[in-house]
């Protein structure tokens, strides 16, 4: 807050430029059918394959998926951080109504730091090891904003204290290796928010951190996001991380969004078996200790030659012949803003029937027993309680 006041009083950036009144209408970010394919010796890797979403100002979108589902590539594609060589891209990315995917590299660079910025996964490697913390924070300030060195320094110190770093003056002179992982991630956040971006990408910001620090960092991100009215895209593999902190969640599998819904709706009425499986792979505190973790059997598909039909079909407990032949489109569910891509969605009569057929078939052949077992025991209970109890209350809540 003190930062804002100082800025206004010294008038380094006219308020009208920084917070334009007019373009506030409409979504901050609109991504339509973007595809990012990498050219490799094995063939085209379809890391992101037709993803659309939009994000309002000040809102948070969670992108969830396993490793290799394309979620990190998606966030980098949207920001435009990927290299130009060997990458095939298409689709449109509209930021404040402007198509940023068509911008020249120099113009695109001008958005970085000031309009959108990113907090990366591993704070141990994301900070320059041979530069002092202070210089790493003042660098974007001095480059983007027309301010003096001493003011940039002051700003950096107050940024450090606003991200919860004690003794910011002393930390300014330290190198990254003199700090813990959590501290470094706080520094990364300070760098990312330094120039007051409107959109913050957090690319698995807590994956590399100690569990005890994870919640602190997520709380910090959330607090900063609210205070500065930034929109945030929170990328994670952990549904638990996004649960209480996002307005909307998109679940990604094999480069596609397979389910998207306002956070509460998703948790109460998940339709896509993959979302369900992710949900059940979160260990529960209420379980007795030494309970086996539920894992999703198999592995994510090869993005060079994805399976025919639904990408998740080889691992899905609900799988039917139709799933192996036709790819399900993203369709609207009954709740507002809820979309999913599944022929036999969980929690519906078709889904239950499909699952039962598989259990019977599995008992007879024994071949898919593993898949079916994982699918039935925990998921069966989840479907019923989820759909029946909380469904009505989510309407209008988001």
């Amino acid at each position: 807050m003190s930062l804002l006041r100082r800025r206004r009083s010294t008038e380094f950036i006219p308020a009208a430029d920084r917070y334009p009144v007019e373009p506030l209408a409409g979504a901050l970010l609109e991504v339509t059918d973007i595809r990012t394919h990498f050219e490799t010796s094995r063939g085209l890797v379809r890391a992101v394959d037709g993803v659309s979403f939009s994000l309002e100002r000040g809102k948070t979108l969670g992108i969830v998926g396993e490793s290799g589902s394309g979620k990190s590539v998606l966030s980098r594609s949207v920001m435009g951080l990927l290299p130009k060589n060997g990458v095939v891209r298409s689709g449109s990315i509209r930021f404040e109504g402007r198509d940023t995917s068509q911008l020249a590299p120099d113009d695109q660079r001008k958005l970085w730091g000031t309009q959108m910025s990113m907090v990366f996964q591993d704070p141990m490697t994301s900070l320059n090891p041979v530069m002092k913390i202070g210089n790493q924070i003042t660098e974007p300030l001095l480059y983007h904003l027309d301010i003096s060195k001493s003011f940039a320094r002051e700003t950096a110190v107050s940024l450090l204290s606003s991200v919860g770093i004690p003794e910011p003056e002393r930390r300014m002179k330290q190198y990254p290796h003199e700090m813990s992982g959590g501290m470094r991630q706080r520094v990364m956040i300070a760098i990312a928010i330094a120039c007051g971006p409107k959109l913050l990408f957090a690319d698995e910001p807590t994956t590399a951190l100690d569990v005890t620090v994870q919640a602190q960092i997520l709380d910090l991100l959330q607090a900063q996001q609210r205070e500065r009215f930034m929109a945030m895209i929170l990328v994670t593999h952990d549904l638990g991380v996004v649960a209480g902190r996002t307005d909307e969640i998109a679940v990604m599998y094999a480069g596609k969004i397979v389910e998207k819904a306002p956070t509460r709706t998703l948790f109460s009425q998940m339709r896509m078996p993959y979302t369900e499986a992710l949900m059940h792979s979160i260990p529960k505190l209420s379980n007795p200790s030494h309970t086996r973790l539920n894992v999703i059997p198999g592995r994510p598909p090869d993005l060079v030659s994805p399976p025919k039909g639904c990408n998740f079909s080889p691992r899905c407990p609900y799988v039917q012949d139709k799933c192996r032949k036709e790819e399900p489109p993203l369709v609207r569910a009954e709740a507002a803003g809820h979309e999913y891509a599944c022929w036999f969605p969980a929690g519906t009569p078709q889904g239950r029937a499909a699952l039962e057929r598989n259990v019977v078939a599995g008992a007879m052949s024994g071949v898919t027993a593993e898949t079916v077992r994982v699918g039935t025991t925990p998921i069966g209970g989840g479907i019923k309680s989820g759909t029946t109890t909380t469904a009505p209350s989510t309407e209008g809540s988001t």
Partner: protein, 319 residues
């Protein structure tokens, strides 16, 4: 640098010097020939025996070495056998010439290698990268004495652009004259180094550019030129520094062939003369001096590591 590590380094220096001087002493002894018959080729056997006694050459191998070692510790580099000139007076004239050549060659090589290394790393896989590397390898395959002779023949003798022989005393100190004599030896020495330095910097730089912190810098929105120079160059320069440091030592004494070809009165040239004249004492002192330079330069490189990379400082402080 704590006192402890400093003391350790000094101890290392002493051991290295003892080993180096002893082995070089052995090597020089292995050279066929005899200083006495070089000084008085037509003397009688009696005269030769007398001279041998005067020079201390009749004592045992070890005691000759120890005598020399004792003298050098008291700052006495000895004298030439044949004209009784002191080695140190010769040294004060020739060492600056060699140092000058070394500095020029290093600067010249770096001037080309650093920008080219950064650019080829940044544009790795491009046509520019391929062409630069091909040329660099070609130049690396060209021995420096071959290049020196080509330069001497064409630039010096045929086109008469630059002087080829400069065994002048005193060596010209006016900047322009000095440059005229130094340019060809510098190029001959530096060209091979350009290729080496370029390749080292390029490969380290390519690795650095893959690092996460480069992506962070990019996401800050700062231009590529700044990313390359401010973020990537420093962490990529450690290998380059190591090899450049080793080369300093090699160039001080190892430019023998180049100095001889161009007649530069540097240390290398004096070593060449001393070998031919069986000047044991002078040769021994030169070798010791080069060894000291080697060790000192590497010591300096070690210190520079921690300047370039604060993590090394940290580890040393902890140890």
């Amino acid at each position: 640098m704590s006192l402890h590590t400093f003391a350790q380094k000094v101890l290392q220096l002493v051991v290295v010097l003892l080993v180096v001087t002893f082995f070089s002493f052995c090597l020089i002894k292995l050279i066929p020939g005899d200083p006495v018959s070089k000084i008085i080729p037509f003397g009688t056997n009696l005269q030769k025996a007398q001279l041998r006694r005067d020079l201390g050459l009749d004592t045992s191998f070890i005691s000759q070495y120890l005598t020399w070692l004792r003298d050098i510790l008291t700052g006495d580099f000895g004298r030439y056998y044949n004209n009784n000139a002191s080695v140190s007076s010769q040294l004060t004239k020739s060492l600056p010439v060699s140092l000058e050549l070394m500095v020029y060659a290093q600067v010249f090589a770096m001037l080309f290698a650093i920008p080219l290394g950064i650019l080829t790393a940044y544009r790795s896989g491009s046509k520019f990268d391929g062409a630069t590397n091909t040329i660099a390898f070609g130049l690396l395959a060209l021995p420096n004495f071959v290049l020196a002779i080509i330069l001497a023949v064409y630039v010096g003798a045929k086109w008469k652009l630059l002087p080829t022989q400069s065994t002048l005393d005193p060596f010209p100190l006016s900047p322009i004259d000095n440059w005229r004599y130094m340019l060809m030896p510098t190029i001959a020495l530096a060209v091979g180094q350009i290729a080496v330095y370029l390749r080292l910097l390029r490969s380290d730089m390519i690795a650095t550019l893959q690092e996460d912190f480069i992506t962070t810098a990019k996401a800050k929105g700062i231009p590529n030129r700044k990313i390359l120079l401010k973020h990537a160059l420093r962490p990529s320069s450690l290998t380059l520094l190591t090899v450049a440091g080793l080369n300093v030592g090699a160039l001080i004494g190892g430019a023998v062939v180049i100095e001889v070809i161009f007649g530069l009165p540097g240390l290398g040239y004096r070593i060449y003369q001393a070998i031919l004249a069986r000047e044991y004492v002078a040769l021994q002192s030169y070798v010791a001096l080069i060894a000291i330079a080697y060790v000192l330069v590497n010591f300096a490189v070690d210190v520079l590591y921690s300047v370039l990379d604060p993590r090394i400082r940290h580890v040393r402080a902890a140890a």
